[in-house]
Subunit: 397 residues, 2 copies
């Protein structure tokens, strides 16, 4: 029979990165295309211990249905922790556990936007979020970024000219894919715009704790006095990605709607992972744990950037990350980025992600590509970056 | 600030059962309102063992990101298992792991229906599914049931008169809430209607393996020659509800779209639970395990039904279940069901679910209420059913 799909999803494609990752099953390919945490960043011994104790002493808690809002002790822990970081305002916020950070984006969009309403985001932007928004057939508008985050003039222009602007989606810390961090000044200006033009800010912060250089910058949520910021984060990069345990702090009426939508989406998130996350976070020395993660990523980032600094063709510019997982490289204008990326995988066996994968319109011209340093081993970084460096010199110099 | 929600969700309420369950935190209340598996039905020792081995020998598999489609060995196992049950047709079907059976319903609806398109279901119907469909603003049409399942004449009439009928949603085995099972004859007739009028059947089968009396009836999926049946099931009642591990067997083009939508919803389901489920299902004596579950639920069902048979007012009729978790009781016409249920919780401290919670239109008159025997202990069933029996006699006789 012939299948007719809904208008929402009929044009939706699997992430372009998935297509690239298919090449990476070739054992000769070194991949800088993924975005997985470093395996050594997972506290595996502690998780095994906590899990064994849980399944021995309290198995039914880990195996039975639980409430949609999430495991109560974990929620209480997160409320306090986020309150200390000014990301939870007890006067008006509530909190829900989600199935990863991804679900926070998807449900925020479902709860707030009708088809055709406008959602503004940074361009380029995280592809998983773009596709979540696309799956609700919203008017997706990308606004260019400066070095310190989204361009304010262009943002205000979009807000003024686009229909029903409801959400501005931002990754202020170590943005995926650009690695850029939004300045405090810009965060304040963006929040003021939200108040002036009455829209919601969806602040996605999966990498905030992974700052390995520079100074922490207050979240946009910390500036929120009117209850117009949805703040989401996840344990994917802090404990385990496979857990699928994220969380959202937002004004109570929004959380209430997200709860109803989550209930019909998956009832609740895997409860074993929620309990293990709670017991880990509430017993571990958090700063020591985060410091060990920061050290892992700093070392890998430094290693990768040392090749860009010393071995790459000087015609390539890049954003040196202060945290997170990615390096954003830009080719000179006369170099075709798509050809470059194709050649990298086919001839040099190096997988990188073409910049236009992160564009709102994939046909847009991009001169950039994304490198990831968290997934490959140090050996793979060395070998792969040596090859990629040689390639940049052969092609550009 | 004033929050404006999307049209899809602005009218959406949390499940009415949740409201009832709030009363059940009162330790004096005996609840027959839930739908949790019996705690003794979870194979907790085996899960603890498998988990310990997994986290010791292969921790990164359990903690790292995985693919959206689900853990490959589990998918392969399920394809074979469902093929043996004629619920997977290798010629045209594919399979995806979902976050519980709930996600299968939600994503099927998202993938196939535009706002205003029609989804037909049995009335009464599982409230979680109803709310999932409501959350996409579809035209939800309930069709009355006979003893052997949905009324065919009324179904055909709905198909002919409603706009854009895309999906017929059914729980053919031990339906929630009525406990009714659809006859083979009716399954065939329903499938023929689907072919004649070109719609998709969404066959939800969470309880199929929990048949403790009578004969198995082939699934509608087993009759599918044209590729128009989406079959979904879950490990929630077979291994653990907290896992949130379900699965969908459906024509490959539909699975492909569900994969894209699941990717933007939660990337993938908790991978630890998928690996543990795979190792459990592929090593355990499945029939022995299912037989032990059937024995648990037969005993509980028999216990509850013995009170209805012997102690209830004779003015109450009921559907004796051959499997699943629920008993559907019907009051005489002159008795107000909502008053009855309110009195049960407030005066007699017994929680049951009012039948209209499962109606497409909650203002519809219903004379039925749902009892659950899987969650309470045998002692609670005895004590609660004694009280409820007394109440029925006091009120009705």
């Amino acid at each position: 029979m012939e299948y007719k799909f809904s208008d929402k999803v009929s044009g939706l494609q699997a992430s372009a990165i998935r297509e690239i990752l298919k090449f990476t099953s070739d054992p000769d390919v070194i991949s800088f295309a993924a975005g997985n945490p470093a395996p050594e960043a997972f506290p595996k011994e502690q998780i095994a211990e906590i899990s064994a104790e849980l399944l021995r002493d309290d198995p039914i808690l880990a195996l039975q249905y639980n409430v949609t809002e999430g495991y109560t002790p974990l929620r209480d822990f997160l409320k306090n922790w986020l309150k200390d970081k000014n990301c939870f305002h007890p006067e008006f916020d509530d909190l829900i556990i989600t199935s990863g950070g991804q679900q926070a984006n998807e449900l925020s969009c479902k709860v707030l936007l009708n088809e055709g309403d406008t959602l503004i985001c940074e361009s380029p932007c995280f592809i998983g979020s773009l596709n979540a928004f696309r799956s609700y057939n919203v008017n997706l508008v990308g606004v260019e970024m400066d070095e310190d985050g989204i361009n304010l003039e262009k943002l205000e222009n979009a807000v003024k000219t686009q229909p029903n602007v409801k959400i501005l989606y931002l990754i202020p810390n170590f943005q995926n894919p650009t690695g850029r961090t939004m300045s405090l000044e810009k965060r304040k200006a963006v929040y003021e715009l939200a108040c002036r033009y009455d829209f919601i800010i969806l602040e996605d912060d999966p990498y905030g704790e992974l700052r390995f250089s520079g100074e922490n910058i207050p979240s946009i949520k910390s500036l929120d006095t009117e209850g117009r910021v949805i703040y989401s984060s996840t344990f994917s990069k802090l404990i385990s990605s496979g857990f699928r345990t994220g969380f959202v702090s937002a004004p109570a009426p929004i959380i209430q709607k997200i709860v109803v939508c989550k209930q019909v989406s998956d009832v609740h998130s895997n409860i074993w992972a929620q309990v293990v996350s709670y017991r880990f976070m509430s017993t571990v020395d958090k700063e020591a744990h985060f410091n060990s993660l920061r050290a892992i990523y700093k070392k890998k980032s430094d290693l990768m950037c040392s090749y860009i600094d010393n071995e790459f063709s000087k015609k390539i510019s890049y954003v040196r990350p202060e945290g997170g997982l990615f390096v954003w490289c830009t080719l000179p204008d006369n170099c075709n980025m798509n050809d470059f990326c194709k050649k990298a995988i086919q001839e040099y066996k190096i997988a990188v992600v073409p910049g236009n994968s992160f564009s709102i319109d994939e046909n847009e011209t991009s001169h950039s590509f994304r490198l990831n340093y968290s997934t490959p081993t140090d050996e793979q970084i060395k070998k792969g970056m040596e090859t990629l460096s040689r390639m940049t010199r052969e092609i550009l110099d």
